[in-house]
């Protein structure tokens, strides 16, 4: 009720208000390609955001591949401390560790790529 009264009071304008309104009034500004320009900027920004993650992941994957592979091979050398019967089992179940890592990375990149296309 109170807010209704306030709204009504706001709508009651005196001659001075009407005069000020007519003075502040201005012609509408023509679009003239303004909206197209802004939407273009937004689309470029969207694409940039979508590309950033897959590109960063790919670059990170390439950079991390070598150290990761050497880390894994170092870790593999620790198997000398493990009794023989266990090492034989582990080696036979992980014959090509590097190929496995590469495959995992490719899979991740493919999934990210598919997600980007889907978007």
């Amino acid at each position: 009720m109170t807010s209704k009264i306030i709204n009504m009071a706001e709508r009651i304008k005196d001659a001075e208000d009407r005069l000020l309104e007519s003075m502040f009034e201005s012609l509408p500004v023509a679009d003239d390609g303004f909206s197209v320009k802004v939407v273009g900027k937004i689309r470029r920004r969207l694409w940039l955001r979508r590309l950033t993650l897959p590109v960063a992941a790919s670059i990170g994957g390439v950079i991390a591949f070598k150290p990761l592979a050497s880390l894994v091979s170092t870790l593999a050398s620790f198997t000398s401390f493990v009794p023989n019967e266990y090492v034989n089992t582990a080696a036979s179940s992980l014959p090509q560790l590097q190929m496995l890592i590469m495959g995992a990375m490719l899979l991740a990149v493919c999934l990210l790529g598919l997600r980007t296309l889907e978007d």
């Binding site: 005069l19 500004v29 303004f34």
Partner: protein
């Protein structure tokens, strides 16, 4: 052009990251936003640059529009914040120039209009402070309610009313507004 349609377009733009829906919102409101910033900045080119920044910020913050109050009110809040931020930046830039030994007259250049282009409205706006100008323009040029202006400027409704009253008084004291016509 209803607020319900605006809300639907906002929902579409936010949920599907639909730039086309946002484009429609820009087409609907660019005139009011650009006019608001032109009156505030006093320079059409600068105002249009600020309007672009304003819509980019609006796109980033679109999810924060709750649908409470009009969309144009929310948009003018973003426009006003963008204007204040740019003002602060240019002030800082002027200070750097000054400390480097240059004459910092950027502000006076920005607001300077050729004498023949100065209208009655420009003279009215010149006697007002930045805050009064923004609130008077929101009220008399954009037709926002006191509550909407309060939301846009983060001020209580009572303060908005007193700023409008003060602005009117300044104009009344500086000019005989009954003698002026729109131009």
């Amino acid at each position: 052009m209803t607020n319900q349609q605006d809300i639907e377009l906002v929902a579409k733009a936010v949920s599907a990251q639909d730039a086309a829906a946002f484009g429609e919102l820009i087409r609907r409101h660019q005139s009011q936003v650009r006019n608001f910033l032109r009156k505030l900045a006093g320079d059409p080119t600068l105002a249009d640059d600020l309007a672009q920044d304003c819509f980019m910020h609006a796109w980033d913050k679109l999810h924060s529009y709750s649908g409470r109050g009009s969309f144009i009110g929310w948009l003018l809040k973003v426009a006003y914040t963008t204007f204040l931020q740019s003002k602060r930046k240019s002030k800082r830039y002027a200070e750097i120039l000054e400390s480097a030994g240059h004459v910092a007259d950027q502000e006076s250049r920005t607001h300077a209009l050729p004498v023949d282009e100065v209208t009655d409205l420009d003279k009215f706006l010149a006697v007002l402070t930045e805050e009064e100008r923004a609130i008077m323009v929101m009220s008399y040029a954009c037709g926002l309610s006191h509550r909407e202006i309060g939301d846009a400027t983060d001020m209580p409704v009572g303060t908005v009313k007193s700023v409008i009253f003060r602005g009117k008084e300044k104009i009344r004291n500086s000019f005989d507004i009954k003698d002026h016509q729109h131009g």
